[in-house]
């Protein structure tokens, strides 16, 4: 009899806890792996008005761009505030072989400037203040010489290199510093020279769609290009587009041109309307 009682007690002691734990969770599954890392983003777009940002595209994506800079706003109703022109336009096409590399071509009708460029994202860091570091560079040809300027024809090639430092402050304010070097900033000169420039840009993201941006390019003074370039505007972004509406004192847009300075100061009577539209394409 004692053995029977012992058996009953032992059964209860062993099995009852099993019942309780079984009701809690009888499964062996546990989460396997960590959540996918979220890519670091500072500026949403690959460019500000004229300066590059450290942002690239996803590997395999294309980027098509069309941008305009109009005549002087100060032309008033007679020139329809510059929208009658003359207009400088730019077309661009870029491709991302990988998530961290972007190569492309830009063509502007300002001296028929054609540029081949590349941008590589070298480093990024998340955390409270996300940071991205990238480098960019390119070579440009001014293929249309002004009438009666043979020196231009002999000195039409330009090159540039940039380091792009971007940081996101407070989740909404993106800031950038872009130290730059330009080879042959003044293609009107008979000999090639070197020049330095520093681009500063910022963008505040008001919502998932709307942001305000500004940029300033401090340039070495060149003959006829004695002023820094300033541009300010609003950006609208959608699932695949960026629309930038802006004012600027520079009608030229391509990197080798903007980094070399501009002919007029940032003043109310020297500003122009402009826009940049980019579209991400996948095939």
């Amino acid at each position: 009899m004692k053995r029977s009682i012992f058996l009953a007690v032992a059964t209860a002691v062993v099995l009852v806890p099993l019942t309780v734990s079984g009701q809690d969770r009888p499964t062996r599954w546990q989460r396997r792996g960590q959540p996918t890392a979220i890519p670091v983003t500072v500026f949403h777009s690959t460019q500000s008005a004229n300066l590059p940002t450290a942002e690239t595209l996803a590997g395999g994506e294309w980027l098509f761009e069309i941008s305009h800079r109009f005549g002087l706003i100060d032309s008033g109703t007679g020139g329809f505030y510059g929208l009658d022109g003359p207009v400088v336009n730019r077309f661009g096409l870029a491709f991302a072989p990988t998530d961290r590399l972007l190569i492309g071509v830009l063509r502007s009708n300002a001296f028929d400037n054609v540029e081949l460029g590349a941008k590589a994202r070298l480093f990024d860091s998340g955390g409270a203040v996300p940071v991205i570091v990238a480098v960019a560079g390119g070579i440009a040809w001014n293929t249309q010489a002004p009438e009666g300027d043979p020196g231009f024809e002999d000195n039409e090639t330009q090159a540039y290199a940039q380091v792009i430092l971007n940081a996101l402050v407070g989740g909404r304010l993106a800031v950038g510093v872009v130290p730059s070097w330009v080879r042959n900033p003044d293609p009107f000169a008979t000999t090639a020279d070197n020049a330095l420039a520093i681009g500063l840009n910022g963008q505040i993201y008001l919502s998932e769609l709307v942001s305000l941006f500004g940029e300033w390019v401090i340039s070495d003074e060149q003959a006829g290009l004695g002023h820094d370039t300033g541009s300010f505007g609003i950006e609208l972004e959608t699932g695949g587009h960026f629309f930038k509406l802006l004012v600027s004192n520079s009608q030229r847009m391509n990197p080798s041109q903007v980094l070399s300075g501009t002919s007029s100061p940032v003043a109310a009577n020297q500003l122009r309307f402009g826009f940049n539209i980019t579209r991400i394409l996948t095939f």
Binding site: R32, T41, D99, L209, I280
Partner: protein
């Protein structure tokens, strides 16, 4: 004086304890097979644009009250838990992925969508296939809502393959979509799941 049989009562007690204390007879756990093909697809059909988002980052388990799926399986002894890693969703455009992550799903705060349920009904179909109806709670964006999900299930060597299709409304999960001209994400999202589960411990349908 009537003789007592304390030893016999103890044995009966032990037997009853064993009956009630034992886990469900031959309960079998299946886990999502990470070595098999898995697809979670959401489909947005907005007026301006249609697009899909795809990921293979689904994991979880299914616990059934029997060694294998049958029409007898179902009830509170069954359990389904599935979760999807939302940051891994690829819509085909990197910028749109970021919009999905940051603006809509807020994956830094809510990295997973999950479904916890029990099997309501198993209906046998032709060729060893089953229709499995489950009822439970879906959690997306930190909001939990009741959901019923039907799945077509077919046996495989190590377990089963499940194909499920259902619809959710983003507004049910407090995911706000900008109501201006740039709206490209539909409030109605169709979700399609295709994944395999493998028996834990070598059990299974065959």
């Amino acid at each position: 004086m009537r003789p007592t049989n304390r030893g016999g009562r103890a044995i009966v007690l032990a037997a009853l304890t064993g009956v009630f204390a034992a886990p469900p007879l031959a309960a079998q756990e299946y886990q999502v097979d990470l070595n098999a093909e898995r697809t979670v697809r959401f489909i947005s059909r907005a007026s301006i644009e249609e697009f899909d988002g795809v990921t293979d980052k689904i994991d979880g388990y299914v616990l059934i009250d029997g060694p294998a799926l049958s029409a007898d399986v179902g009830g509170d002894d069954t359990e389904i838990y599935l979760e999807v890693d939302l940051a891994s969703i690829d819509t085909g455009i990197g910028l749109r992925n970021r919009h999905m992550r940051d603006n809509y799903l807020e994956v830094q705060r809510y990295p997973y969508a999950s479904y916890r349920a029990s099997i309501v009904r198993v209906t046998a179909g032709p060729g060893g296939a089953f229709r499995v109806d489950s009822r439970g709670a879906m959690t997306i964006h930190g909001v939990t809502r009741p959901v019923e999900i039907p799945c077509d299930v077919t046996p495989e060597a190590r377990g089963y393959r499940a194909r499920c299709s259902f619809q959710v409304l983003l507004t049910d999960y407090q995911i706000e979509i900008p109501s201006i001209m740039f709206l490209k994400l539909s409030n109605e999202i169709r979700l399609e799941l295709d994944f395999a589960v493998a028996a834990v411990g070598g059990g299974g349908p065959q």
